[in-house]
């Protein structure tokens, strides 16, 4: 029985934590929030230098050839310190798609550049305020050209390439487009988290190349969403832990009615509820990490379970952290809001909480899995 990370993986996590603390990622995140920027170039360059973008890329494409588990521990630390970099878009979404479904030729052309940072990728799915489905995708791929508009595409400005979910005849295909092309128009969209960039991306006959079987785009996307759900769940538990830690510290330092507010039962029970939600989420994320790294048949169920638990935990911990801080928690000056906003962005980016509960029930219906 070993539902835990190895000593080497824990060491990697410790190093990631030290690095991000030394760089003061949280302060960098605040600086990004206070500027027009949507990411930090310098921090991103250092992360590329550390080799994190190539963790999962096989050695034959100049990557480190490590497993999803190493990616999970890095994700937890990025989430804990809210690092404002296009890591999740490029690594969990774009790179995962290429590794899973790319042709040999595509892998040789793109994966080594993801390692060096010459290519930064993202994934373009949403089009309207309805949840995307197999039948409502309207961005179209025809004769190798893309047309139509995607919205809420993360990191599209810094990204050089995107995997685009596109209608292709009667089916849906995944395809790769070069975002620097003249036929692509990228416009920043105001979003709730000032430290993250979301964009509308319009394709006007831009060249694109199908990735994976062109008939299986939708089921391939679902698989990538499962991978990303597990990886993001680690960012979420990292953020939830940071929120709980902040609330805990404040509850011990802040006095009211002549005593630390953490000595009041109403505060203790609030923080205990946060701990309970976080513990459930963490254990489910570990289970998701196991299913992902071992390519288990349970992955759709495990991923949805991790996603639902981690979304609930991060949202609860970040909102109750503000509540614990009282009026200070509502200010721009205190860090609480950065976690609150990130928690909401992360709860929506792969589809909402209700849609993932639905995915979970569907996976149970299909797999007939029992606890």
């Amino acid at each position: 029985m070993n539902l835990d990370f190895s000593d080497d993986q824990k060491l990697l996590q410790e190093e990631a934590k030290k690095f991000l603390t030394k760089e003061d990622a949280l302060k960098i995140n605040r600086a990004v929030m206070d500027s027009e920027k949507t990411y930090d170039q310098d921090l991103w360059n250092k992360i590329v230098e550390l080799g994190w973008t190539g963790i999962r890329i096989p050695e034959e494409y100049q990557g480190l050839g490590l497993s999803h588990l190493e990616l999970c521990v890095i994700a937890e630390e990025l989430g804990r310190q809210l690092a404002p970099v296009p890591f999740s878009s490029s690594v969990y979404l774009f790179t995962e798609t290429l590794i899973e479904f790319g042709s040999e030729e595509q892998k040789h052309a793109i994966l080594p550049k993801l390692v060096t940072g010459d290519v930064i990728g993202t994934l373009a799915i949403a089009e309207t305020n309805s949840a995307p489905t197999k039948s409502n995708i309207s961005v179209e791929l025809k004769d190798g050209k893309l047309s139509g508009t995607k919205i809420a595409v993360p990191d599209a400005e810094v990204a050089t390439h995107a995997v685009v979910v596109a209608k292709n005849g009667d089916s849906v295909s995944l395809c790769v487009a070069d975002l620097n092309s003249d036929d692509v128009d990228i416009t920043v969209q105001r979003n709730i988290d000032e430290s993250r960039g979301y964009y509308s991306v319009s394709f006007d006959g831009a060249n694109a190349e199908v990735v994976g079987d062109e008939e299986s785009g939708w089921s391939n996307l679902e698989k990538i969403m499962d991978h990303a759900a597990v990886l993001f769940s680690f960012e979420q538990i990292g953020g939830a832990q940071a929120s709980l830690d902040m609330a805990n510290t404040y509850a011990k330092e802040r006095y009211a009615f002549g005593r630390p507010i953490g000595s009041f039962q109403s505060m203790k029970h609030k923080l205990a509820d946060m701990y309970v939600a976080l513990t459930l989420a963490k254990s489910n994320s570990f289970y998701g990490a196991w299913a992902l790294s071992s390519n288990a048949a349970e992955l759709p169920t495990a991923a949805a379970t991790a996603r639902v638990s981690a979304t609930k935990a991060f949202q609860l911990c970040s909102q109750e952290n503000i509540q614990t801080h009282g009026g200070n928690g509502f200010t721009w000056e205190y860090d609480c809001h950065m976690f609150y906003k990130r928690s909401k962005v992360l709860s929506l980016n792969l589809g909402s909480l209700p849609s993932w509960r639905e995915k979970l029930i569907k996976s149970l219906e299909q797999a007939n899995i029992k606890l």
């Binding site: 029985m1 070993n2 539902l3 835990d4 990370f5 588990l69 709980l244 805990n248 509850a251 011990k252 005593r259 630390p260 953490g262 000595s263 009041f264 039962q265 505060m267 203790k268 029970h269 923080l271 205990a272 509820d273 701990y275 309970v276 513990t279 459930l280 989420a281 963490k282 254990s283 489910n284 570990f286 289970y287 990490a289 196991w290 790294s293 071992s294 949805a304 379970t305 639902v308 638990s309 609930k312 209700p354 509960r357 639905e358 979970l360 029930i361 149970l364 219906e365 029992k370 606890l371």
Partner: protein, 408 residues
């Protein structure tokens, strides 16, 4: 990461399994509830005694105990493996858990060598049953506020007072007991710990009828009960320290709630027919079941994380402290859901129907949220011991026990 036993663990599991298969019946869907426990024509007490003796003779009764008291010195992970395997079999439960889980560790730590030799083997063998006498009518969550009095009289102590919620007192041979030896001292300092022969003159046991209609608890009255000083565990005034040893064990023992879970809710929702529609097609139902599934899965994987630490020989983290809060509340919610699913007929009880498990869950959960530490006390414990938050300001601090306001 993997879910496999180490080779040594696998070998141990196979040994457990082989003995259990030769000596007990695997649970089936039908036998998988306490109500259907296959005790044949015997009483639960007789059946439990027979099973305990069988285990003891083969060395499986208390495997983590040292050899001289009937154990095999098993490691914590081996203890879990045994419990996992035993739980797959239809064997009697509910008689020995408190004695072995709570009285056992205290006796092991505080009794003299002669006492250990005298009392531990019969406890493991099931010849003698033990109960725990802590709570009182005015000392529940604040158990250190207990008032039963012990007055020293030469080599003996004379005990007067009343205990309550004592599981199994009516069939127990011995009990572990905390009493107040000096109400002039501060609350926690005036307590002393004993073990007592439940057949002593002056002890009277009265069953308490629970809201389920059953009676597994009792009131226990002490009228001038004589306890030899040799049966004191720990120093005079160390009663709280000794009691804490037991309470920590109780929290491990109460743990997970038995009964209906996300799976049963899911099965029910798929079966149920309402105007030709299944309940599982209702969005609110789907969302609730998804959340219960996540909680159940979270508890299961939390347990596996604890086991992983034990398997490596490490001390587990505090993560298991969430178990009872989550599982008891989930049980209550699922019991409610099950009954609601049958609309007006959800209130009707039928012993023969499988549906009764939702009603029993709903009733039982109300008690489970209190037993072994209420939700509120457990949250305080998480806040104070895990998160390190300061204690609540207390109205009883620094006062002699007799001067503490009691509302009466």
């Amino acid at each position: 990461m993997d879910f496999n036993d180490t080779p040594q663990e696998a070998e141990f599991r196979a040994k457990c399994r082989a003995w259990l298969e030769a000596n007990a019946e695997l649970k089936t869907k039908k036998t998988n509830s306490a109500k259907n426990m296959n005790v044949g024509n015997k009483s639960l007490l007789e059946a439990a005694a027979e099973w305990q003796k069988k285990k003891y003779d083969a060395g499986w009764a208390m495997i983590h105990w040292p050899k001289e008291f009937g154990g095999i010195g098993a490691t914590p992970i081996e203890r879990i493996i045994w419990a996992q395997e035993e739980s797959k079999f239809n064997v009697p439960k509910g008689v020995y858990e408190i004695g072995l889980g709570m009285a056992g560790p205290v006796m092991m730590e505080y009794a003299t060598d002669e006492q250990k030799e005298r009392y531990l083997p019969p406890m493991a063998e099931g010849k003698e049953i033990w109960c725990q006498l802590f709570s009182e009518p005015s000392a529940g969550s604040d158990v250190a506020g207990l008032r039963s009095k012990a007055v020293q009289d030469g080599e003996n102590w004379i005990v007067n007072g009343q205990k309550v919620w004592t599981s199994g007192a009516h069939f127990s041979d011995f009990g572990i007991l905390v009493v107040r030896h000096d109400p002039g001292l501060e609350k926690h300092k005036g307590l002393t710990f004993f073990f007592v022969d439940m057949k002593s003159p002056g002890i009277e046991v009265k069953p308490i009828k629970q809201l389920t209609g059953g009676s597994s608890f009792n009131e226990v009255y002490f009228n001038d009960v004589v306890i030899p000083d040799s049966q004191r565990l720990g120093e005079i005034g160390d009663g709280w320290k000794v009691a804490i040893t037991t309470l920590m064990n109780e929290r491990l023992a109460v743990g997970d709630a038995d009964g209906v879970d996300a799976n049963e809710a899911f099965e029910l929702a798929k079966k149920h027919d309402k105007d030709g529609e299944q309940l599982i097609d209702n969005n609110a139902v789907r969302e609730s079941i998804a959340d219960w599934y996540c909680e159940a899965s979270g508890l299961k994987n939390t347990k596996l994380r604890t086991m992983s630490a034990l398997s490596r020989g490490d001390t587990p983290g505090p993560e298991a402290s969430i178990t009872k809060i989550v599982s008891a509340n989930k049980l209550q919610a699922i019991g409610n859901f099950g009954m609601d699913s049958s609309d007006m007929s959800g209130m009707l009880m039928d012993e023969e129907s499988d549906f009764i498990k939702f009603q029993m869950a709903w009733m039982g959960a109300a008690g489970l949220r209190i037993a072994g530490g209420t939700d509120e006390i457990l949250k305080n414990i998480i806040a104070e011991r895990v998160l390190g938050l300061p204690q609540e300001a207390r109205a009883d601090k620094g006062l002699a026990f007799k001067d503490i306001p009691s509302g009466s």
